[in-house]
Symmetry: D2
């Protein structure tokens, strides 16, 4: 940890002041209010050592990062049957594209583009009694953290302007790959995306993907080792939309980004690291977040490649 700590500090101060050419996401009005000066990092190792710097303890909207936990719960319920509903291939298209859905007859390419996450939400709705509450409880167990919550304002804000996601959900429904009511699926999806965490919380909740022997504080095994490895594989090939190749190339870790500016990356058998900086590059991923992680894995020689 001392080694990581020193390197993280160095990179943090180096990147903190550079010119950030990114822009804050503005298509969700409520998200646009966040100060773009926020910059935080937090690492947690599988030995439960941890270190944070900057705004690592401030909560932010994790947005698409929550797709990881939704997928995890759906995978737990359905195991390999899940892949009949959603693919595991990178899409080569932006996160909210409808193009491929048409040629693929309503089966999203992977669970991390919006269409795929919407199908995952539909799968969860079919399994959960009180979907929003149950999913939140699952996240609380995953992280041993009872303070987690949705941001109702963000959920409502996204709902009001979520025409693209509504188009996706209706489109998939027209192919028969949504089983529940469109409005309920979307409401659940927007709530999941409104989940808030700090970098500290985000790096901790993701440990089940890094630690082969992970069990929750309640003593539950979340995924089998093989399942966890497979989630990591999907994260690596699909976690950054049409910049997944770039992230694998530059950073070399499975990871997931959100338009709130958060990124979590997983080094199997070693650590989880979360970064937050709200300004996004053109592909919708945190500009400073990607830069930080690239420098970090280079200096620690800890890419999985």
């Amino acid at each position: 940890m001392e080694n990581y700590k020193k390197i993280i500090e160095d990179i943090y101060f180096e990147i903190k002041t550079i010119d950030d050419t990114g822009e804050i996401a503005n298509y969700i009005p409520e998200l646009a209010n966040v100060s773009d000066h926020n910059f935080g990092i937090h690492i947690t190792t599988i030995d439960n050592e941890s270190f944070g710097i900057g705004d690592f303890d401030k909560k932010f909207s994790i947005q698409s990062v929550s797709k990881v936990f939704a997928l995890t719960l759906a995978y737990k319920f359905e195991d390999a049957k899940l892949w009949e509903r959603v693919g595991i291939e990178p899409s080569g298209n932006p996160f909210n594209s409808l193009l491929q859905l048409e040629t693929d007859y309503g089966k999203p390419r992977n669970p991390f583009i919006n269409s795929g996450a919407i199908v995952i939400c539909d799968v969860l709705l079919s399994h959960l009694k009180n979907p929003k509450e149950d999913f939140l409880n699952f996240c609380k167990e995953l992280s041993n953290n009872s303070s987690l919550n949705y941001n109702e304002k963000v959920a409502q804000s996204e709902k009001k302007s979520g025409y693209r996601n509504s188009a996706l959900c209706n489109f998939i429904k027209s192919f028969g790959n949504i089983k529940n009511d469109v409005d309920e699926v979307l409401d659940f999806y927007f709530h999941i995306c409104s989940l808030e965490m700090s970098c500290k919380e985000l790096s901790k909740i993701s440990l089940f993907l890094a630690d082969d022997n992970f069990t929750s504080h309640k003593g539950n095994k979340i995924l089998t080792m093989s399942q966890a490895k497979r989630v990591n594989a999907i994260l690596l090939t699909c976690g950054f939309y049409d910049e997944s190749g770039e992230f694998a190339f530059r950073v070399g870790l499975p990871g997931k980004s959100g338009v709130g500016g958060g990124i979590v990356a997983v080094h199997p058998d070693k650590y989880c690291i979360a970064v937050w900086s709200p300004k996004l590059n053109k592909k919708g991923n945190s500009y400073k977040g990607m830069l930080f992680l690239e420098t970090f894995t280079t200096k620690t020689a800890s890419s999985i490649f």
Copy 2:
């Protein structure tokens, strides 16, 4: 090695006799002549221990696997400038698709789909005096193996039926992303694809991607550590066309397949393993090869995830 050996033997005998639902590639007439009973595996560790079974010593047409070595040489010449000519993102489309080239103005998505490999060949033509000879010598140095050679018959066979590749090359040229003569680029491309190796040779020549300290027998460092890791990242996200996600998910290693039925996979810091079985699944990857590798990384718990 003893551990690997036992597991490889077990899987080999288990898979050898199963019903192979794949089909031999028939679009290159000369390739269709290969017996579909061939099945070989060879592993080489970074400590230079090695083990093979089945037809591991028989030469076959490595086809697209040679794109790895072409990329390596071009990357050596151009370093990061190379990515101005070809991308590093998975394409989400079949290996010989023209669709994305039109929307991307002639810049192929990655160096492992045909369009990308054709651009790589064009880059090499601009650097090499005697392209075919020089590239062969590079492969000989990489593998410390002077017996490597092209199969002229296969190269000619592919040339005669290579209308799709000719379309790709002319199309890219129309966007200005091919600098040399179209016929010379294609002749070079078809020769590179006709390279022949055995599983043994293939697992050995790929060691420079697994071993951080690799130097050739002539004492040359081939790629920097960072470059080698980045080639592995591209292999993982793009090495299996529109089945790259599937391979990452099931096998969990960087790798590359060819329509000759060969696959090479790399475990950084540990080993390279090559498999050969000519019958291909619908995505154009060896059916038994993928099955073998999936079982192998599961039983050895040696996916990178």
Copy 3:
């Protein structure tokens, strides 16, 4: 008229008994209940002579044919400004495709594919006080026929299963090209499509497109001569989705089809002819209807070409 009459009778009896390889539209449950034996034809000339045969007096769901009258009213309101919201080019894609909308940033190719008609409905909503009532009144004036009405059951049936249209409307809204509430636009759209007419009524209501000097019984000029000609031009190039070229080629008249099995065709300066037969070919156009019209324009040598 005598000439037309004889030819229509001959073709009617010839086609009535042939094997109809088409199928009734089944995606709108309420439409699937219609008997597929229905077959009617009615012609009305600009001199107001008319002749019908078969089920020419039975009402059916005109569906997409109503897009012609919606376009007409919107064109009346907006004139050339309308083309900022919707194009006038054939799409080369099926009627409910979302593909082009993405590359065209939410501007539908033409007013006769679903996306275009939805935008037209949105334009009308911005102009009309009581949209459904006002549009119905416009149709009544056009046809001097106070018996026209929507079929509420069909409208509700389409609403319940209209996920694709809902996807289209939300998608266009996400690009800003829908100004009103999505649900209101769709409700209006589904009602317009549920309009019912007989062949007789349909051939009569379309006369304003054939007769340069047309004025309604209230003395109103509907479109200028130039506007009417332009609507005919759009009908010819776009009236039959991705079979528009086929219809121009075989029939040679501006026309519009609906999934209810109705087709209306216009011969400028001469006549309007309506045909109804519910079974549709693979492109969604009435099988017997197209066959009838092709034979009719060939025998009367009355294509516009």
Copy 4:
């Protein structure tokens, strides 16, 4: 004719001096040398009256306009069988797009986009003994004009830079829809496109499409009445690439444009009119040519709609 003459003169002088926002085609180097001041018009009626103004007697490269005559000859040879090789639907894409060819398995949408014209050339090669000579003789007979010729310089210039067309031809060949040698097909295609005519010649040679009773001076019927009407239908829906709808809408006549800046338009039973002005709009059609024809059909009320 006196009526036409006066109107043509008026429009000619009105448009001659307006600011032309178009640009000369520069992708065929040899074409870029033409003076952009050229502006000519010529009309020929089916009664063989004629009138020209401006540069109506100067030869220019008719380019894609020659696709009309190639289609005519192929249609004569193959009749309806021709449509197994090439479609009759507007493409909705630019003239040299490869996108649809992939989804349509190598069958071009229509004979007037480049891919379609290349297939037509392939069809002709299978029928003609001396293709270039025989096609030229066909054009000479059509026009009763022995002075017609290819421009060898233009043909060679296009050949040297014709990578896109070479891509199209190889791509179609890969689907099996080119039967002859790729280089021979392209050589024939480039020659056909290099045909030169004046507006006067162009309006005269097209009369067979306007006059139902047309026979050549040798006494040959070129197409049946039904075939000629069908060619006109394809011209109307497909003659102007992805601006076909626009031309139908604004001008209202079947017609064909070429990147040399020529346009020919046909009024069935009345006249053919040819316009030439080299500067092209963004869709590749003559800017002044389209403007002239729009004004002409409006003032003469002679659209077919």
